[in-house]
Homo-oligomer: 332 residues x 2
């Protein structure tokens, strides 16, 4: 795949800031790639970067327009279509994180063909992946796992990648979801892969590498999530990670999106992840805890992290509050 | 889905008996649905049922032609296409277990539209499935799990279903692979479902049921298989099975299709399956062992099964050699 950079961030008529969450994540982690934002009338979000017309973006050298917004009611309006078509006329590719496929819009598909531009629906893998082999491969890999969905696995791996780059280490971020793909410029939406190819897709995006190289692999779901655990297990086997970081939100009572299921204990979650991971990575070990303490005040968060670090005998950080330096110290 | 019965079994120009393995399985378990076989010139397989022309099959009341054969080199010849088109002219639907899709053959698709006939590619799910909910549901479910792929999980569940029917119990077989789908007339090729929907697909095909009802759910893969464990875990969570049967082939050294991986011990495999299953079915328990002892002689097999039954304190059967009566005794 490999998206061409830099980007123009299109957030359409986003109803609120939350609707532009994907675009915001890309701007946060790749400010150097995000030359500007394009907002239509009625847009209530702001990415905090320069507003640009399509013409200004083309002039500035933008190569890809990123549709980084949840559209209202799943309908793509004519105003959007016109924007996408004009961007292609001006030489840009289009990459979208929408559920709807760009190629299903006749005007958009026609313009892509006419101008030989690429359409990337990052939620919908188009590459054919091999079946996972389980074959040992060189290099080092770290995977973020978790007690639940949506508690900071992507943020944790990105923070690690950034910190390791800053320290001059040999590292890549490997994306397994839509926002991560825009940030990495490549990757796979692993939850949209055909079930037989989950582990094979992950083997493919984090290939054998130098002995001092690290892949920071974005995790998905949880082995304890009744909807998505299959994705998490295939990802764990494909990642062949020697290091795991356990992500957790203290105080969460119910697992995201389901009834009746409390999150597992950290102990149980560490044990099951290590057991399963060792099928393909015999040395796999949880080396740190990464907490999302956004609902706590400073002193509560500090006490909570200290307690858990003592109890588990490993660093316990909040990537937002404390950074991830303590984890990178171990990897170094 | 629900295929219309009875069937005509089309085995084309099968190179050998193995190429017609799918068709053979259907004839074995559903002889009453398989009115005849249709073989083309050069066919080296024989299902042991009456040869029939398409016209004879139509006359006999056949509703669906089953393509139950692996085609040579992945190419569908013109002779096949002519057969499929003529079958639709005569009023039959077509159901195929091929990797290639029927609808990708222009003549076949055109004939299906012209005659309003259905094309079923059972390896390629077309239904949209919900995301798994993990919500408890009524009725009883048994799932066959295993130390590896291809060691008798489908056969075991079919043998249980047949024995329970014979005893007048309230039971259904739930298919998760192509051969099973032809035998059940319905089901899902779970390994071809999009990863996010594995457990949801299984919840859908084995819905809530009467308190005395049993679903015998065909298992796939193994939690210890580095290529396919994600499928197996999603299946396990979706099945919400109160009873598990552990399938195993004594003496197998290497897991199917991979290098470097020996099968797990039965103990480890029971423990991990029970732990994982209890996420959605708190009472889940391995209640019996089902061995494939086809490479042993009678006395070896008998000794092996007795040893394991004693060691694990549960029945140990070979569905082919001994039947599954000992397991059904427990379910009753």
């Amino acid at each position: 795949m490999a998206l061409r950079t830099p980007y123009l961030m299109f957030i359409g008529d986003a109803a609120d800031q939350l609707a532009a969450k994907t675009a915001q994540g890309v701007v946060h982690w790749r400010p150097e790639w995000c030359l500007g934002q394009l907002r239509l009338e009625g847009c209530n979000a702001d990415l905090g970067i320069a507003d640009m017309t399509l013409e200004e973006a083309a002039e500035a050298g933008v190569k890809t327009l990123i549709v980084g917004v949840a559209n209202r009611g799943g309908i793509i309006s004519q105003a959007w279509t016109n924007t996408l078509v004009r961007a292609m006329e001006l030489g840009m590719d289009i990459a979208s994180g929408l559920h709807n496929k760009l190629g299903d819009l006749p005007d958009v598909r026609a313009a892509a063909e006419l101008h030989s531009r690429a359409l990337y629906d990052v939620r919908h893998p188009t590459r054919a992946f091999p079946i996972g082999s389980g074959k040992p491969r060189s290099g080092n890999r770290l995977l973020a796992v978790g007690t639940d969905c949506s508690l900071g696995k992507m943020y944790t791996t990105l923070a690690l990648w950034r910190e390791m780059e800053t320290r001059g280490m040999n590292v890549d971020f490997r994306a397994t979801g839509q926002t991560g793909i825009f940030i990495a410029g490549d990757g796979v939406s692993v939850d949209a892969v055909v079930a037989d190819f989950i582990s094979g897709a992950i083997e493919e995006i984090s290939p054998a590498n130098d002995a001092d190289h690290w892949d920071m692999i974005e995790g998905q779901g949880s082995l304890f999530h009744p909807s998505f655990a299959g994705v998490s297990l295939g990802l764990l086997h494909g990642a062949q990670a020697n290091a795991l970081v356990m992500c957790h939100e203290p105080g969460r009572q119910i697992m995201r999106g389901v009834l009746h299921h409390a999150p597992p204990s950290i102990e149980d979650c560490i044990q099951l992840n290590e057991t399963a991971a060792r099928l393909t990575a015999p040395e796999a070990k949880v080396i740190a805890l990464a907490f999302n303490t956004s609902k706590m005040n400073d002193s509560e968060a500090e006490a909570c992290m200290k307690d858990h670090a003592d109890k588990f005998g490993m660093p316990c950080v909040d990537p937002v509050r404390t950074g991830v330096g303590d984890i990178v110290d171990i990897l170094q």
